[in-house]
């Protein structure tokens, strides 16, 4: 079983971002994260991928789906810790190419914040 922890502060965080998304997005995200939660390891999950290059050290959760005629690409950047924990750091909607530069910088900033103060990533469950 994978245990999630969600980056949250008073102003930004996973749940605040989720709350701003349309219900169709939230449903899709819940379904993906629920499957990951139930898995023994991330390697067996289709929608999880370790990143390289500038984003090395982060893992992305890929949530792709069609809504009417539009293709939606959601990404949640995070990292795995010992004890089968996965820290959800930075969610975003991918609209362009494969360059995650800005998103990865934000995720790394948050990761450092969590490493300094673990309370910034609170246990969370989906759905």
């Amino acid at each position: 079983m994978i245990t999630f922890r969600c980056y949250e502060t008073k102003t930004v965080g996973i749940h605040r971002w989720l709350g701003d998304q349309p219900p169709e997005f939230r449903a899709e995200i819940d379904a993906v994260l629920e499957l990951i939660q139930a898995a023994k390891g991330l390697d067996e999950i289709l929608s999880v991928k370790a990143l390289r290059g500038k984003c090395d050290g982060l893992t992305e959760i890929k949530i792709d789906f069609s809504l009417e005629t539009e293709l939606i690409h959601i990404r949640i950047l995070g990292y795995e810790t010992r004890n089968s924990e996965f820290i959800l750091l930075f969610p975003f909607r991918k609209r362009g190419g494969p360059d995650y530069g800005t998103a990865c910088r934000s995720a790394f900033t948050r990761k450092r914040g969590v490493e300094r103060d673990a309370r910034r990533a609170q246990p969370c469950r989906f759905p």
Partner: protein, 226 residues
Amino acid sequence: MHGERSPVDSHRLFSLVGKMHDKRYRDNYVVAHTRRVLAQQMRNFRGELPQGEFGELIGKRQTVVSRLENPNYGAWQLRTMFEIASKCNVAVFVRFVDFPTFLKYTNDLSDEALHPESYREEAMDEFVAYETAVNEFFITSGIASSAGLVDVENVNDRTDASVLSNVFNQRNIAMPETGNLRGVQQIAPVGLRSSSIPSVTATGPGFPLVANNPFSIEIDTMASGD
């Protein structure tokens, strides 16, 4: 899990019930959950085999295997499902259901549920033995079963582990290690619509039922949902 009935995850249940007030959410959750579970099952069936080799086993091209493993693929055909089920020697279960039933039957995302066991005679025999013994337990202990062995309604607390033990012993079936009966806050679909309706959920790895398997019968006189 070979048919194990897991107690409904109450966190998931309450969370989803709240979110499903929104029709757009619930419609999309049904689609997303179903699509992604099917893709994961397809991936699990393949195991370590390359897509091409697995495709040969199930009579599909590699491109088709790839498509069926794509969690974003939403154009499954019943015919394809039946063909793959036949090749993998598993069953397919598709029907329209109400939302409480959907919540209940989508609760199990265990490895066993996502990679169902191929048909096995012994598993069928063990299933029958287990169901018969548990059913006898309910009858012996005065519990009326109106819907098989799960979601038994109109339950009282006249249950006794020793009765269960006797039933299993008489049938020469391996007795569960603990045979424990414990009260839990168990939610049955019917409980979402009315309060104070007791429910019983029987759980146990059970299938196959072998010695040393942990086992529990969870019984609750439920009062929740409103």
